[in-house]
Symmetry: C2
């Protein structure tokens, strides 16, 4: 059985029902912890499910912020200092990552509140999440505002990247599943993954093949 919702059905839904429903529709989401540090050395940590790839050269990533929400501390710190980190979430830190979404006062660091560990290294101003298996340090490049609903897209360029050696393939592919990175639906559902296939580059009139992944280094 199929359900159809029109624009007016969506408009008149109970608010919490609509929030959950519409948040589920884009498909599986990336789940990342974004960490920042303001000029008075206060750290901030928040979970985001909107991080996307924007381009490889220059190496750019982007995410959505709602300036009137708990996410505003992340935005303020990025605009103040120019730096932030993106840190992957794996099964062992799901609860701590989810808890960073609570509305703590600005003088309470979500690192302290959740027990995750800020890691300052390599002269990078923003802290990394020590527990994360894949860590990315970015420099703020651009903010674009979406007029339709007052959200903003924040664009950063990759300055530093730390990841487990054994998940890097010879062709550059990174096996996030092997690292235990999780994915999500909506605002609160966490999922592990199971690879189905990798496929060769698509060309007209050429049949797709399964791609066999080889790695730069064996797992130790």
């Amino acid at each position: 059985m199929q359900t159809f919702y029109s624009a007016s059905a969506i408009e008149t839904m109970e608010q919490r029902f609509r929030t959950n429903l519409i948040n589920s529709l884009s498909g599986f989401k990336s789940l990342n912890l974004i960490a920042t540090r303001d000029l008075r050395q206060n750290t901030n940590l928040a979970i985001f499910n909107s991080v996307i790839h924007l381009g490889a050269n220059p190496a750019l990533m982007a995410f959505v912020v709602r300036p009137d929400s708990v996410e505003r501390h992340t935005l303020e710190n990025i605009l103040e200092t120019g730096y932030f980190t993106i840190n992957h979430i794996h099964q062992a830190i799901i609860k701590q990552a989810h808890q960073t979404a609570a509305r703590y006062p600005k003088d309470v660091s979500e690192f302290t509140a959740t027990g995750l560990t800020p890691e300052l290294k390599n002269n990078f101003y923003a802290p990394y999440v020590k527990e994360s298996i894949l860590q990315i340090g970015l420099q703020f490049k651009e903010r674009v505002d979406i007029v339709t609903n007052g959200t903003s897209i924040i664009v950063g360029q990759i300055e530093q990247l730390y990841l487990p050696t054994h998940i890097i393939a010879t062709d550059g592919f990174v096996n996030l599943e092997e690292a235990g990175t999780v994915t999500g639906i909506g605002l609160d559902s966490y999922h592990a993954t199971k690879q189905i296939t990798r496929l060769t580059y698509a060309k007209p009139d050429k049949a797709l093949q399964e791609l066999v992944t080889t790695y730069l280094h064996e797992r130790e």
Copy 2:
């Protein structure tokens, strides 16, 4: 063992290696087919891994286009007609979905080339993908350009939504895993999912609980 890449290491990577690496870093990606129809009734279909949720009220979704790429036909048709559809990808149509990324001439419809079926219904100008289990019809709202690398973010508002009744929870959550929606890494890796948990809304000083999902209707 951990690998560190600096900004200059990323800049000097072999191009294909960098493309695969950087494309893998955002985490698991949504995978969707975006379908359009131009004013001469030609249909177009392309796979996108950048669709994100932008807001629930109004119900907005967004995705990234590279105007100099194969994706430009999608962009041209959206700007010409104002409508597009977002269609989920499940295991049975992975190969066909991947093949839509091939550079077909504009007069060849990727529907015809891949064997997927355009479905016109409910007076919506853009076609749906008949094989997709979850289909969303959107009206174009806004295009914002990213100066840093010349990409654009396309924003649409949901006008129509079709989904299986049995995956809609009483709180509005949509169980995409139950529908078979797949997720991806990078440009070519396809993954099924296995739910780990749903968690209650995070509040300071309140312990998180597992959330039990109940559904509006039993599966038939």
